[in-house]
């Protein structure tokens, strides 16, 4: 089977170039990458760890769509490349230093413990969001970074909701406050993040929920303000949940 890989090594060439390899071990893309590295070309560079889709280290793009290499089956002529929105260090390895920055800026941690009793129902409310593996698939698929490198982005905002919805947190307002600038209102609600999440998390809906919680907490609905500036349709949106009729779900991406 043939596989195409976009390669990059600044020491050799300032540009990416696509190389083709033949592989026999093709159950998963990670298996194929390992076969190439160990048997054909020791210079091929990628990250990998658990091989079971839970450490999040092997995020790549396959034919333009974000995947985990360890969980994705190889098809003939697949094009493999590094994820978007981050500096490529080498081949499929990108700089991940933004992760710490976005999480810190969003204050995604338990700040102050409440005395409230946490029920099984409460735990279920944050179950899906706390399954995030920080693989960066959502980050890579997000079009907002093209215009705003400081956007907190889908994983940090999903994590913010995880702590906002956590009954154990007594100071949710502080988190809500930290996601107003370059945060919930900067999302275009395109839904790409939701489509590429290997953990079936829906950051788009999480962001919409955070918008609603922001408004409830007294913050200005910036999308509503922008919407009114852009249109004069007399369209009465009523109570705003953050849904933007000019954005919405775009299954084809951009």
């Amino acid at each position: 089977m043939k596989i195409k890989i976009k390669r990059f090594d600044l020491e050799k060439n300032p540009h990416q170039k696509t190389e083709e390899f033949k592989v026999t071990h093709n159950e998963t893309i990670l298996d194929s990458l390992i076969e190439i590295k160990t048997q054909q070309d020791n210079t091929l560079t990628y990250r990998c760890g658990c091989r079971t889709g839970v450490c999040g280290s092997c995020a790549i793009k396959v034919n333009g769509v974000e995947k985990l290499a360890c969980k994705t089956q190889l098809n003939e002529n697949d094009l493999i490349e590094a994820i978007n929105n981050s500096k490529v260090l080498r081949d499929l390895v990108v700089d991940l230093s933004h992760e710490e920055k976005f999480l810190k800026n969003s204050k995604t941690y338990l700040k102050k413990q409440s005395n409230e009793k946490v029920t099984s129902k409460d735990v279920k409310l944050i179950d899906v969001q706390s399954n995030c593996i920080l693989c960066q698939n959502c980050f890579s698929s997000c079009p907002v970074y093209e215009v705003n490198k400081e956007f907190l982005g889908p994983y940090a905002l999903t994590r913010a909701l995880r702590y906002v919805n956590d009954k154990k947190e007594a100071n949710t307002l502080d988190i809500i406050n930290s996601i107003q600038d370059n945060g919930v209102w900067d999302c275009t609600l395109c839904g790409n993040c939701t489509l590429v999440c290997p953990q079936f998390i829906d950051p788009k809906t999480d962001i919409m929920n955070l918008r609603m919680k922001s408004v409830q907490a007294g913050f200005e609905d910036k999308s509503f303000a922008q919407f009114n500036q852009g249109f004069d349709s007399g369209f009465d949106s009523g109570f705003d949940t953050g849904f933007n009729p000019s954005g919405g779900f775009n299954p084809n991406g951009f």
Partner: protein, 535 residues
Amino acid sequence: MIDVLIIGSGGAGLTAALNAKKEGAKVLVVSKTYPTHSQTCQAQGGINAVLKETENDSIQKYIEDTYKASHKLGNKEYINYFCSNSENTISWLDSIGVPFSKNIKDNISQRKFGGTKAKRTCYSSDYTGLKILHTLYDQCLKENIEFYNEYQLLNLIIENNKAIGITALDIETSQVKQIKAKTIILATGGYAGLYYGFTTNSYSSTGDGIASALNAGAKISNMEFMQFHPTALENKNILISESARGEGGYLVDNQGNRFIDELKPRDEVARAIYKKYEEGEKVYLDLRHLGLDKINEAMPQERRLVQEFMQLKMEKDLIPINPSAHYSMGGIITDIEAKSSIENLYACGECSQSGIHGANRLGGNSLLEIVTFGKIAGENAAKKAKKVKIIENTDSEQFLIDKNYIEGIFTKDSEIDFYKRKKELGKLLFKNVGLFREEKSMKNSLEKILEWKKELNLIGLNDKSKIFNKNLTDLIEYKNMIELAHTILISALNRQESRGAHFRIDFKDELENYDKNSILFLENDSIHIKLEEIQ
């Protein structure tokens, strides 16, 4: 000046970091991967504790179960502390935000694991390790703990028998760095990854910290005890947690017959399964009777893994499984303060032999260990650091040696394909130092390992780039793997009995004169072994 330098950013390292910081120490965490890429994320099933609400259980029963599983190699005092403190450990995790699953009474849910008398294992569905790891990471960010990610440990710097720092490779640039600190904690994980191709572990679990400790003169212990998990997906070695059996799953053979009590300790269940394979039979995990709702609630990740990697459905199909190297009981020997045998050097988590697991670890005890001893290591290393004088940041001899070595290796071509060797190593260990062991094949394996050890100097790099050179990091890992394979073989040959995970077909009984820890240490460049009484 760094007070406490922590190597490794899994559950043990992050817990140590948080607790050292709490003691007022200046902390730096150096890690080969990113924190959330660590092996801890793969722990699915749960974390043991006797809570106030736990029914039909007591600390005493927990201590007895853990000691029994250790086959007399556990340290009673340490186990006593470990179990008695379990509720505090869970409370702390709960207080920092770990979303434990709750039962209908809104208490933390507990399930039954093998080798226990009660439902004692707390969990977060089957993502327990992932949720603990990420919660710890979030807290580290809150506390502004400093990380050097993707730095590979090379060696410890020892002066006057004291640990004063490390040398590490900055993977992004291939630069060798020297980091000095008042105290050092190794939290680098286990060595089940040596069973390459036959392990549930991450590719990163290569025992680097243990190898560096041995080379620095520390005592390492009980390397022969490798736990095989009974249920990994056949030929893929992807873990299906013990929770599958804990929730009532069956193990069945070709004829659909159950052949062992599924909740016996892991060593016994794994051997029973392996025997079936040797007889030409296959073994399946049968969860069909549990129903989809129960499966979705208790093991959503496992259901997904089975679907994605085997194209099977847990609620409808039998799942073919095989045993797989899963957890290494041996490591750097530590006392109740998490101190190693070298001054100012501490160890915690799977890289340590902390006197809890002995010859066999109970499921649910490893997550408790990383948090219990991570805390102890962090606190003690921070307290000790206050008494250590500032260390001069002059270039150490170790730094110059390692710098020269790394520079030199870029000019050296490889005569040996170490990737091929790594595969052979995994196969050799699984076959000859696996579930069943005997002298002749182990002696042959030892010869082979010694041959490969001699060849290490012939290995160079085919990748000459200085940027993110994984060929180089793979080679450093391979050297550590060979070093540790050597210690596993010496220990397994030396223990002429069967005990826990170490089963010898030529010495089938557990013998009283082996109620001792294996201790390995380096002297005059060669590895020595002795047996030491349990303290």
